[in-house]
């Protein structure tokens, strides 16, 4: 104790700090790209309530539990809640944002190919939280 030199530890700490700087910079950059909402994104109002999702398109059409979108367009979700906290999640498209009563949170995505994906609630919201699920249906523009 006390007689040994400690430089390996400081080099090691330096490496760790450098790694963390790299993680931080990469994450910052990716977040910046992901948060940049395209100006022409169509707004879809998403409302969570115990225990289902309601969607309202820009043209006023409403859907419950199912959401129809078109390939190649950008969509911006405005997420609200009527009762308790929920979390709107389309895992296949890495879309996730909490629905907090009294707030409007936004997240955007652009579907790339036609298909069906699960929508689920990822924040504990009570009795049927486990089954607060919906379907995202992405349609080709041609059809």
């Amino acid at each position: 104790m006390g007689h040994h030199s400690n430089w390996p530890e400081w080099v090691y700490v330096g490496v760790v700090i450098a790694l963390m700087c790299w993680v931080g910079a990469e994450a910052w950059n990716a977040e910046r790209l992901v948060e940049h909402v395209p100006a022409d994104a169509e707004v879809i109002k998403v409302t969570g309530q115990q225990w289902f999702w309601t969607f309202e398109h820009e043209d006023g059409t409403k859907e419950i539990g199912e959401l129809h979108v078109k390939v190649g367009k950008a969509y911006k979700f405005e997420i609200m809640s009527k009762d308790v906290n929920h979390s709107f999640n389309i895992h296949d498209y890495v879309v996730l944002m909490d629905a907090v009563p009294g707030r409007v949170n936004t997240v955007w995505f652009a579907p790339m190919e036609a298909g069906e994906h699960d929508i689920q609630c990822r924040e504990y919201c009570g009795l049927i939280h486990y089954n607060m699920r919906g379907k995202l249906i992405i349609e080709d523009d041609s059809s």
């Binding site: 530890e9 963390m20 931080g24 994450a27 990716a30 906290n85 919201c125």
Partner: protein
């Protein structure tokens, strides 16, 4: 010295005692009882999730109550009281004082735990250990929710009282010949974690009161219908409970600092860098709370600030790992049970930390937030690091507490099974989270990957469960019938290494 079973005393003498080893024993037995109770709930959860659909638990409300009480029990009634047990036994001895600074306060702090444990278990609330509003205000059924709030309130007071006691004992009652730099690292871990408790807990105590009055309908702090904001609760809660993570992990690291040099037959590589890392960790623990809230609609700037605050905790944690590795280097390591637990704990500590860095990277939160990834991540901390360090230390202090030796083979089987089980359960849960399974679900759709991975996790849980039965048998049998321990060198390491007995501490009676 406490050789309880060699010199039996009536139970009430221990219960009404204020001597630090007696209070330590009470803490120890209480925390271990809750470990087994909370662990049983974990097995119920894993059994239920083995297949999609309802298996052994009839309805989701019961399931929700079970995981809420599981989390609350293991964090507040196992980990924290276990650390207090170790602190009670060893901190006064390590600073060479006859007892804790305030013995009666010490006993009071302990005796607040059984009633709050009773409130939590008799209520069996369902709103998760996080009691998230507005669910906890407008939806959670009473009186369970209110009992939980009162239980946590009492526990908060108990840990603040305990923390004040540790701080005063270490700073004011240490032997005058001993400088603060010479205080052993285990005692330092209690000093730093106690300071965190004193700073952090009052915030949650206030939030709990507000939650209660919100539930009573007389206020609307967190109720949007009355102009309140649920996010305010999230800030208050995590301002307490992110630092609390370090309150849990720092004593466990302190315990490893006792075990690893002892069994490596070397002093710790750098005492001063251990102290430095503890102090640094306790400061930066307050800079990262809102990384739990990336998905609540925080701004880019807020997220960046809390990401940096989170990453700042990594170098200090890495310094501990370095210290452990450098201590083992050039040692002559005896792999007795405590050492196996400590080394296993370090390996899992790294995995948990690496997962934490990934969580902290802002965009990855979209994948991992509130998924099973998070469950796997924090369980690697609480089980893989904290419980491993604690259980290792329990084996280490066993001869000190009972005067007898535990069964070494059973201890090793316990370790190997727990290690395999922990890897199976919690590494698998990380992957399960990447496949998108949300946490806190009673049932899940029959997606083949989800089913497979849930089954691997459940099998791992059963392995841990079996190992814990072996552990229980070992503890009970050995404390009554185990070989008498050689109190100078219970682990047969040779030489007069420091094992904090009364004989090494002239001020101790």
């Amino acid at each position: 010295m406490v050789l309880e079973l060699q010199k039996p005393r009536p139970i009430w003498q221990i219960m009404f005692s204020t001597h630090h080893t007696d209070v330590g024993l009470l803490y120890l037995i209480t925390s271990l009882s809750f470990l087994f109770m909370g662990g049983a709930l974990a097995l119920a959860i894993r059994a239920e999730l083995f297949f999609p659909g309802s298996q052994i638990i009839a309805d989701s409300m019961t399931f929700n109550r079970i995981f809420t009480v599981h989390g609350t029990t293991l964090i507040f009634l196992f980990i924290i009281p276990f650390a207090s047990a170790v602190g009670n036994y060893f901190v006064p001895i390590m600073v060479r004082y006859k007892d804790m600074a305030y013995p009666k306060l010490n006993a009071i702090a302990f005796w607040m735990i059984p009633p709050s444990g009773a409130l939590i278990w008799l209520g069996f609330a369902d709103f998760t250990w996080y009691a998230t509003p507005p669910y906890s205000i407008i939806s959670a059924p009473g009186p369970a929710a209110d009992m939980w709030i009162f239980g946590l309130k009492i526990l908060g007071v108990s840990s603040v009282l305990g923390a004040i006691n540790f701080v005063v004992t270490i700073l004011k009652c240490k032997h005058p010949d001993m400088s603060i730099g010479q205080v052993p690292l285990l005692a330092w871990s209690f000093l730093t974690s106690s300071l965190i408790i004193i700073v952090a807990i009052p915030t949650f105590a206030a939030a709990l009161l507000m939650l209660l009055t919100d539930r009573l309908g007389v206020s609307g702090f967190f109720n949007p219908a009355m102009g309140g904001d649920p996010i305010a609760y999230a800030h208050l809660f995590w301002f307490t409970f992110h630092p609390e993570v370090y309150v849990l992990v720092i004593p466990a690291i302190g315990m490893m600092y006792e075990i690893i040099p002892r069994f490596s037959r070397k002093p710790i590589f750098s005492h001063s860098s251990g102290i430095f890392a503890f102090v640094l960790l306790s400061v930066v623990s307050f800079s990262s709370w809102a990384h739990h809230m990336y998905a609540t609609g925080m701004s880019f700037t807020e997220k960046t600030v809390f990401m940096i605050g989170t990453l700042a905790a990594v170098p200090a944690s890495a310094m501990h790992v370095f210290n452990f590795i450098a201590t083992m280097w050039n040692g002559r390591i005896k792999f007795s049970t405590p050492m196996m637990w400590a080394v296993g704990g370090i390996a899992l500590f790294f995995s948990a930390g690496a997962g934490g860095v990934v969580n902290a990277a802002m965009p990855l939160d979209f994948q991992t937030h509130d998924s099973y990834w998070v469950v796997g991540h924090f369980h690697l901390f609480v089980m893989g690091t904290i419980a491993f360090g604690s259980i290792g230390y329990l084996y280490y202090m066993f001869p000190y507490v009972t005067g007898r030796m535990y069964n070494e083979n059973m201890g090793k089987v316990h370790f190997v099974m727990s290690f395999i089980g922990t890897v199976l359960v919690f590494f698998t849960q990380h992957v399960l989270g990447l496949y998108g399974m949300p946490r806190r679900v009673f049932d899940y759709p029959p997606i083949p990957e989800w089913i497979t991975m849930n089954q691997i996790a459940s099998v791992g849980a059963m392995i841990i469960g079996t190992s814990m039965v072996i552990f229980l048998i070992n503890m009970i049998h050995s404390s009554a019938k185990g070989k008498l321990a050689d109190t100078d060198d219970p682990f047969n390491l040779g030489g007069k290494y420091y094992y904090p007995f009364e004989s090494k501490n002239p001020h101790h009676h």
